[in-house]
Symmetry: C2
Subunit: 227 residues, 2 copies
């Protein structure tokens, strides 16, 4: 469903070049829940951003459902993202002037879904993550964990084939983690594929497969020094 | 060192009133490391913001080192905060146009410390959290965990009597957690007091005391349903 081939990312800041990700090969299989684990600054968000078509690779290619995403224009890429991918960002990225309900409705409205249906589906998604009673609140009126749950609802609302989550449980208490992970696992059972970047060992039991990232290198085996 | 007496916080949004925190009594003792645990949306950040003089209580009082903080003007409160308190916010709150080194130097420069000394102490704090090699980078050039470590360095650099941390390890891998917590524990040993809001059970072994917050109520004992 998603694959990177020799994909790497470097940043040029002033006269230094930072390698966020070494050229890497990996893929997400259809219907699997993949965990991506690794130390802080190792390249996890970079890998997820390449898979999510949020970043262009400096080298190599990204394929989503067989389509070579790294060759598409910005507009075509945005369309592919809207149709196929749900993304939970590490810092939530909620649109501040919009309330929780409007934030969750937005991807559907961009797809051309009518207001009434978009509102109904948004309420369903907010209900799943336990945020229905706060749907009229703005992001800054919500706690960290509440904002994270709204961000998760927004990523799920379009029923995307590929769901990419960057530390989706970092601000959540154990009970919320159970609720969210059970829901995500059900979606995978219904055919979605999912990759989750995390430091949270509470998520290991839910995973079908785990890969590790360390200093920009992706591998199937846990690095020597342990995590 | 810090205490709330009958302190509560409510928000009025449209025609509904949300109680973020019921009138509560609690204190942080000198030289202790206190953990504050509770479900998402229960009022942890609100309690910490009252203790950190970032929010005024709707009722009740807050005392910092014997001074009634809830009766001070905005300016006096900002001065008290600068002199006595280091705060690690849940969303880091780094100043985006400033690089990591300048972010960490800022509290010292506001205290009137000379540029040279402020730079030296900032480099020391960045070294402790393993971020010296990235000190010239802007926040958006850093990963989530790297930004969190810069935010921790900024809270420590003025050697405050009271250090308040809101989920300081949410974006950190196990190794970084060890490094950060050992450092925080050393500071407590040297006389600082600390309160840490967290869902991260990795922090329990470092704590001297744990309090629980559930639906706006602060208590010493773990609520029935467990966390
Ligand atoms: N500005 C505001 N306006 C309205 N309600 C607010 C505001 N700020 C916080 N709240 C509400 O107060 C309650 C407590 O929020 P708080 O941020 O203290 O929770 P928390 O325990 O830190 O949660 P988390 O673990 O998710 O960070 C929540 O229901 C939240 O939505
Ligand atoms: N815009 C940028 N400019 C320069 N360097 C960057 C940029 N974005 C990321 N980096 C660097 O690339 C490396 C990988 O970052 P990435 O965000 O992928 O890490 P991560 O594994 O997600 O870490 P964390 O667990 O802390 O979130 C880091 O060293 C980071 O500082
Ligand atoms: Mg990251
Ligand atoms: Mg909070």
């Amino acid at each position: 469903i998603a694959e990177v081939k020799g994909a790497g990312k470097t940043y040029q800041t002033g006269d230094t070049v930072i390698t966020a990700l070494q050229p890497s090969n990996m893929q997400i299989k259809k219907g699997e829940l993949l965990l991506i684990i690794g130390p802080s600054g190792s390249g996890k968000t970079t890998l997820l951003s390449l898979l999510g078509c949020v970043l262009y690779p400096t080298q190599g290619d990204v394929y989503i459902g067989g389509v070579k995403a790294s060759g598409l224009s910005e507009n075509e890429l945005a369309k592919l993202r809207l149709q196929k991918i749900g993304f939970v960002f590490q810092n939530f990225n909620l649109i501040q002037p919009l309330n929780a309900e409007d934030n969750v409705m937005l991807p559907l409205k961009l797809q051309g879904v009518s207001d009434a249906i978009a509102r109904e589906r948004a309420n369903q998604a907010l209900g799943i993550v336990g945020m229905l009673d706060r749907k009229k609140n703005l992001p800054k009126q919500l706690s960290g964990g509440q904002q994270q749950r709204v961000a998760i609802a927004r990523a799920l609302v379009t029923n995307p084939e590929l769901i990419l989550c960057d530390e989706p449980t970092a601000s959540l208490d154990p009970k919320s983690v159970e609720v969210v992970m059970k829901e995500l696992k059900t979606l995978v059972g219904q055919g979605s594929s999912m990759a989750i970047v995390t430091h949270d060992m509470r998520l290991r039991p839910f995973a079908d497969r785990v890969i590790y990232v360390d200093q920009g290198v992706v591998s199937d085996t846990e690095p020597e020094q342990g995590l």
